[in-house]
């Protein structure tokens, strides 16, 4: 962030270095007259040298809403990553275990066996 003092000095500098209304109008007329006459300088630039690089992100960044959109996308992506990471961490720290089920099953089997034994004893008696 610029400090207030820096902002003030730079604003003064910028206001000091302007073309001036009359000069700007004169130069504008000259440029227009030359373009209409086809009076171009011999020096030209290859198209590639003057075509600015641009991507969707570059274009979007040029606008306030675009900045907000890109920030939301970045937040969404990082949130999705965080969720996925947390899920995988949960799964690895608590692997699904069959132990309780096995213990439960054994317990039921044992009870059934005891019950059978008791009923047999009763019959025998």
């Amino acid at each position: 962030m610029k400090s207030d003092r820096a902002r003030r000095v730079l604003a003064l500098y910028r206001s000091a270095a302007t073309l001036g209304v009359d000069e700007k109008a004169r130069l504008g007329d000259l440029v227009l007259a030359r373009t209409l006459r086809g009076d171009f300088p011999r020096f030209d630039l290859p198209a590639a040298a003057v075509a600015p690089d641009s991507t969707f992100a570059f274009r979007a960044w040029g606008f306030a809403l675009g900045k907000v959109g890109l920030a939301l996308v970045a937040l969404g992506v990082s949130g999705a990553f965080a969720c996925a990471w947390q899920k995988s961490a949960d799964v690895s720290s608590n692997p699904p275990s069959r132990e309780p089920f096995r213990h439960g099953a054994l317990h039921v089997e044992r009870l059934e066996a005891e019950l059978r034994a008791l009923t047999q004893d009763d019959r025998a008696a």
Partner: protein, 179 residues
């Protein structure tokens, strides 16, 4: 017939771009070392290149980056062809009409401070700081104009701002200490 229509629509576009950005181009040329006496001519050439190339330009919100890129190329050509180096990196001439004496003095002082600061900076920092804090270009625009990565732009601007703040702070201290 169609070509004449294209030409006039292109001329109208150039007129619009000129009205919006002529000051920016002029300041940039001066900052790139084009002498005051030649800046008007080079400025015209920048807009003639714009006229010639505007059909290839897609409006991507990077107009100032494009104009700076053209200005940079033309100023290099200017330095190469004419070897007019004596005024290189000198201060920008004040063209703005002064409102009152106090403001004129403040402007002159700001002009001297900023020019001295920019002249003393390493070129990579200078252009990043100039485009960001003087001209108000966004980081992606600067990245496009200078052909450097976005992170590089941020770090250069941050570094230059720190130096500029240090300079202003030391000037303020000197003023306080002066009898």
């Amino acid at each position: 017939m169609a070509s004449r229509r294209d030409d006039s629509s292109s001329a109208a576009q150039v007129t619009r771009v000129f009205a919006e950005h002529a000051d920016f181009v002029w300041r940039s040329l001066r900052r790139l070392g084009v002498a005051a006496a030649d800046a008007d001519d080079v400025l015209q050439e920048v807009f003639l290149v714009v006229h010639r190339r505007i059909s290839e330009y897609e409006d991507r919100g990077l107009m100032r980056a494009w104009l700076f890129s053209i200005s940079q190329q033309l100023s290099k050509h200017y330095h190469r062809s004419a070897k007019r180096m004596e005024e290189r990196q000198r201060g920008v001439v004040t063209n703005a009409p002064g409102t009152d004496l106090e403001e004129a003095v403040a402007r002159r002082e700001a002009d001297q401070v900023v020019n001295a600061f920019l002249d003393g900076l390493d070129e990579s920092l200078r252009l990043a700081f100039y485009l960001s804090d003087v001209e108000g270009l966004t980081a992606p625009e600067i990245s496009s104009a200078l052909g450097v990565k976005l992170n590089t732009v941020y770090s250069r601007v941050r570094k230059a701002r720190k130096l500029f703040d240090d300079l202003l702070a030391s000037r303020a201290r000197e003023e306080l200490e002066a009898p």
